[in-house]
Every structure is written in structure tokens, then in C-alpha cells.
Amino acid sequence: MTRKKFIVISIILSLLAFVFTSSAMAEQRVLNILTWAGYNEDRIIKPFEEKYNCKVNSKNFSGDEQMLTIWSASKPGTWDVVNPDGPWVKLLATQGKIRKLDASKYPLEDLFPIFQRFPQHWEGNTLWGVASRWGFYGIAYNTKYVSKEEVKSWKVMWDPKYKGKVGIYGWYLPNMGNFGRYLGFESPYDIDKDQLMQLEKKLLELKPQVATITLTASDLIQALANESVWLAPAGNWAAVTLKEQGLPIEHNVPDEGAVSWTESLCITSDSKNPDLAEKYLQWMLSPEIQAKLAWADAFHAATPSRKAAQFLTREQAEMLRMTDAGVDIVKRVSPRKLPKPEEAWKDVWLKFKGE
């Protein structure tokens, strides 16, 4: 009998506790963010929650398309902050899904010059997003087999010596952009039909060289680590990950140039907490947090703040090319964009993949 009483009382108590905590939570403001990995790590989020007495709910995605799928499947107003890659920002603005930002609220002058008036974020004098993290592609290579001299040009990918040793991350956008630079297209995503045909020819010539076309970036990293792949077009961050593990992997941006990617932070138009969202954007752009984001647990990549490097060790900053010397690379990279006509590009890629 007493035992039964005990159970009943404890059930009532726990119900009460639930009611109280949930009403306490209701007073606390909630910020919902839909981001790439890294933006929601405790070192970044916990101090923010304390400072603004709020709760941050987050969800990660691993591709812009995936983000859009999650976003469109959620109720309107679910998300306050989204984190698309640069090329998507204006598309989202046209669809009315994100709101204008007040440029004076953000420390844009702290960013490397290219990101201050970043063309993918500005439309005339309207700002739609801020750059929060970026990186560039190049050749990741195993120094045991490939020399530093060779990777000065993308040409090395077609070298018969490396037949069956080239790894490709199976996404058309960065690869076709990089090889476009190799063919001398200054802005590789704005090319005409003839140039696309040239690109197709080069790609089909590359196929016999390829060891694997991986589904995810981490599968490519795996292939570099187990030496089934000696060289691959890859983001700097992939090489940094392997180097940190003590593997003989280096990264170089070939002289012909490469493409870069930029992650942007935007505030949704149906956000219920636009002020808090603005605070979050400011928070993410502050130098110390930019450094934490650069050296996030998820992966390490450059951030656009010039002041962030002082919060990193010299070694870290150099690996990420966040020193002034490293930023020279910016001159050699073209931002990744959505090509037109996209269908034709995907067809070329399908042929390359399916050959």
C-alpha cells in the first residue's frame, strides 16, 4: 500500500516539475538555427545562451539542398537563422524567404576585403547575408608519392603516372569549377556551350585516372588516409583534418586557380526573434568566436574575420591560411556559384560519373 502511494506521489511530483520547468522555459527566449556543423558547438553556443539568457536549438545539415528540404518541411517560423552557401543567398532573397540585414549592425570592416562587399550577399545597397566561414579548393596530395612541384598545376590529375590514384568527391559543382579554372576560364561558372564541351572532354579524359568517386567528403578523406588515393581535388579543410592526424597530406592551390566556397548567415523572413537572431549573427562574427568556429571540432576551415587569427595559434592560422600571406590565395580563387543552365552541367557530370 505504501509503495503504491509512493509511486503515485512521485508521479504527481514529476508532473508538477515538468509543468514548472516548461513554464520557466517559456519565459526564456528560444533561437532556432539551421546550420552547417560547427556553429552549434558548446564552446560557441553556451556563452551566447548565458549572455542573452536564451536557449539555442540547432539542427545541422550537410548540403544546401538538404537544408532547403528540412526548411521547407518545417512549419513557417520554425527557424530564425539559416546558413546557406553564398550562391543560394540571392535565390532565397528572391523567394522572399530571408530578410534584409542592416549593414551598420555588423563588423564588416573586420573582414578580409573580399568579404566586405561580397557580391553574393549584396544586391545594390541591400545586404542579405553575412559571410561566416569560407574555404578554397585545391589539390590534396600524399607527399610520399606526389611532389610539391607537380601540384602547381591541375595537369597532374591527368598524368599517366597517377592512373587509378585520383579521388573525386562526387559533387559536380566544385569539381567542374576547378577544372574550368584549369582550362583558363576566369569565372568558371559563367561559361558558354563550347566551353562546357571542352570541360566535358577534359572530364572524360580524366575518368581512367580515377580510383573512386565518393558520395561524401569524409569518404574522400578516408580514401586519402588509406592511400588508395594519392591526390584529389579537395577543400583545404580536408587536408588539414588529415594533417592533424599526422598523415603526410598537404594541400596546394594550383597556379591556374581554384574555386572557393562561402557559408553565409541569414535571418529568415518569418523569424519570431529577429533581434535575437541579429545578436547571434553579431556573435558569430566577433573575432574570438570566429576563431572558435575556424578551429571547430567538426572540422577546421578559414573564417572571414581578419582579427580572428590572433585567437588561434600561429600554426593553426598558417594551416588555415588565415595569415596575410595566406590570404593571397583569394586572388586565385573564384567563388562557387550556381551555373546556368544547371541541367546541362548535370548531364556532363552524369556522363563523367556513369562512363
Binding site: 548540403g63 539542398e65 538538404q66 532547403l68 528540404t69 521547407s72 535565390l91 587509378g164 562526387g170 559533387w171 559536380y172 575518368k207 580515377v210 580510383a211 573512386t212 568517386i213 565518393t214 558520395l215 569518404d219 578516408q222 580514401a223 588509406n226 592511400e227 588508395s228 548535370k346 548531364d347 552524369l350 556522363k351 560519373k353 556513369g354 562512363e355
Partner: protein, 301 residues
């Protein structure tokens, strides 16, 4: 009187005749489950495959565009044929390997070790499929266990590329699905009436003749059902081809995943999935007919 195994299958065959309504009431929970989590999603995929995606959004506009696209572009067909071939190879390989094993467990190994052997066979399957695939990477990679051993033994100097070829895919398929085949074969062999074998011996048949006239025909249903399973599972498998096979020569399932991951083309992915489901259905119907005709023969004969 038919022996037990064919009796069971005979019951299965009767399934085709429409059972009374009370039968459906009894299986209501499970059929609801099937309807909600299987039939409806498949129907949804079927419907979506006739729609189109524009700017990452599904547009309600009926079209055959996805199908004409698939039928007109060779990479899809190359991938389809490749999938089919790989799955058939997996069936042959696992049958060749599983048959002697099942035979040994059923007839050679003393009864008291049988259970131990079965457990030993199932044990690796407590590990997640994905993890098993990655473990094969460690073994088959250029700097992996297999190549290192060959190097130490001075058999090779430069590593043989196995990982990221379809040889590795087959290794994966065979390892993953052979157990299934063995189980099914074992259960149909175990059900063979031992008196039949004794009778054959009494009538002067040698071991070989007993095998071909008694054991093999009676184990055939197990072999066929096992083949169906192995075929369907390896045809629809995506883990082994991408983690071990490497995607240089994509199989059909990788095409489906690419449509989702790379471009979120839901309708295209659905159309590809419909083609897969139809293929599997056709194979299933053809094979099951075969089982029916065999069991029908054995119970009358």
C-alpha cells in the same frame, strides 16, 4: 505423404487462393503496419515519379519526363546492367560457398556441435552492417591488411587495388548475404527425411547418387528462396557498392542516392526507385513460380 519441408511450402503456395475474411482480422495489426509503412510509401513514390521538380520544389504537373530521361540516357542503363550483373554474381558466389557449408552442418557435423556452428556463423552479424563494410576497407585498402601480408610474404611488391573496385563490392555482398543463404539451405536440408536417404542406400545407391537424387532436389526450394533473397538484397544494396566499390562505376542504387543528395530531384529518384521495385517484382514472380512447380512436383511424385 509429403515430407515436412514441401508441406510447409505447399501451405505457402495455397496462399494464392484467397483465404477467408477471418484470416485478415487475425493479421490486422501486421497488415495495418504493412499498409502504413510500406504500401503507402511505395504508392507515394510511384505518384511522385510522375511529377517534376523545379527549383528544388515538387511541382504538381503530370509528366513522363523522368522516365524518358532515364530511358534515353545511357549512364542509367549502364548502371542498371551493372547492378543486375553484380547481384547475379553475388547469388552464384554465395550459393557455391554456402552449399557445402550448409551440407556439412546438416549431415557431417555431429549434432552437438551444430548449434555452436550456427551461433559462430551469426555472431559477426551482431555488428552493424555499415561498420562491417568499413572494416573491409581496412582489410582491402592499398595499405590494408591483405596487401601488407602479401608484401611481407614477398608475393607482391606494389599493392593490388582491390578496394574501390567491384571485386571489393562482391566481397562485401558475399560476406553479408552468404549467411542468409546458408541458413535457408540448412533449414531445407535439415528437414529432409533421413529415411529417404537410408532407403536410397538400401536400394544400392552410392553417396553421389543419393546426393543427386534425394538431397539436391529436396534442398532446391531452400536454394531458390536463398537466391531470391541474395539477389534482392544485393540489387538494392547501396552500402557495399559505395563504401567498397567506390563509385567510379556506379550501380543503380548510387544513381538514386545521387539524385537525392546531389540535386534533391525527388521525382527523378522516385522514377529510378520504381524501376528497381518493378525489376525486383519480376524476379520475385519468376523465381517463386519455379519454387511452386518444384514443390508441386515433389509432393505428387
Amino acid at each position: 505423404m509429403p515430407d515436412q519441408s514441401s508441406f510447409k511450402i505447399e501451405k505457402m503456395v495455397k496462399f494464392r487462393n484467397f483465404p477467408p475474411i477471418r484470416f485478415f482480422v487475425g493479421i490486422l495489426p501486421i497488415s495495418l503496419w504493412e499498409i502504413i509503412f510500406f504500401m503507402l510509401p511505395v504508392l507515394l513514390i510511384f505518384i511522385v515519379s510522375f511529377l517534376i521538380v523545379k527549383e528544388l520544389r515538387l511541382v504538381f504537373q503530370w509528366t513522363l519526363a523522368n522516365y524518358t530521361d532515364i530511358f534515353s540516357k545511357t549512364p542509367y542503363w549502364v548502371a542498371y546492367v551493372r547492378s543486375f550483373r553484380l547481384a547475379l554474381t553475388a547469388v552464384v558466389l554465395s550459393a557455391v560457398l554456402a552449399y557445402p557449408l550448409a551440407y556439412a552442418i546438416a549431415f557431417v557435423v555431429p549434432a552437438r556441435f551444430r548449434r555452436l556452428l550456427m551461433v559462430a556463423m551469426i555472431l559477426p552479424f551482431w555488428t552493424n552492417y555499415l561498420i562491417r563494410a568499413y572494416s573491409w576497407q581496412i582489410i582491402l585498402a592499398n595499405n590494408g591488411l591483405f596487401n601488407e601480408i602479401l608484401k611481407v610474404l614477398n608475393i607482391i611488391e606494389t599493392p593490388i587495388s582491390i578496394l574501390y573496385t567491384h571485386v571489393a563490392t562482391e566481397v562485401g555482398f558475399t560476406h553479408f548475404y552468404m549467411v542468409l543463404m546458408t541458413m535457408l539451405l540448412y533449414s531445407s536440408m535439415d528437414a529432409i527425411n533421413r529415411n529417404l536417404m537410408e532407403a536410397a542406400r538400401d536400394l544400392g545407391a552410392g553417396k553421389l547418387r543419393t546426393f543427386f537424387e534425394i538431397i539436391f532436389p529436396l534442398s532446391l526450394p531452400g536454394l531458390i528462396v536463398g537466391s531470391i533473397f541474395v539477389f534482392i538484397m544485393s540489387f538494392g544494396d547501396f552500402v557495399a557498392p559505395s563504401i567498397l566499390g567506390g563509385g567510379k562505376k556506379p550501380v543503380f542504387t548510387q544513381m538514386v542516392v545521387d539524385e537525392i543528395q546531389g540535386t534533391v530531384n525527388l521525382s527523378m529518384a522516385s522514377a529510378l526507385a520504381v524501376i528497381m521495385v518493378v525489376t525486383i517484382l519480376i524476379v520475385l514472380i519468376l523465381f517463386l513460380r519455379r519454387v511452386e512447380s518444384i514443390t508441386a512436383g515433389s509432393s505428387t511424385g
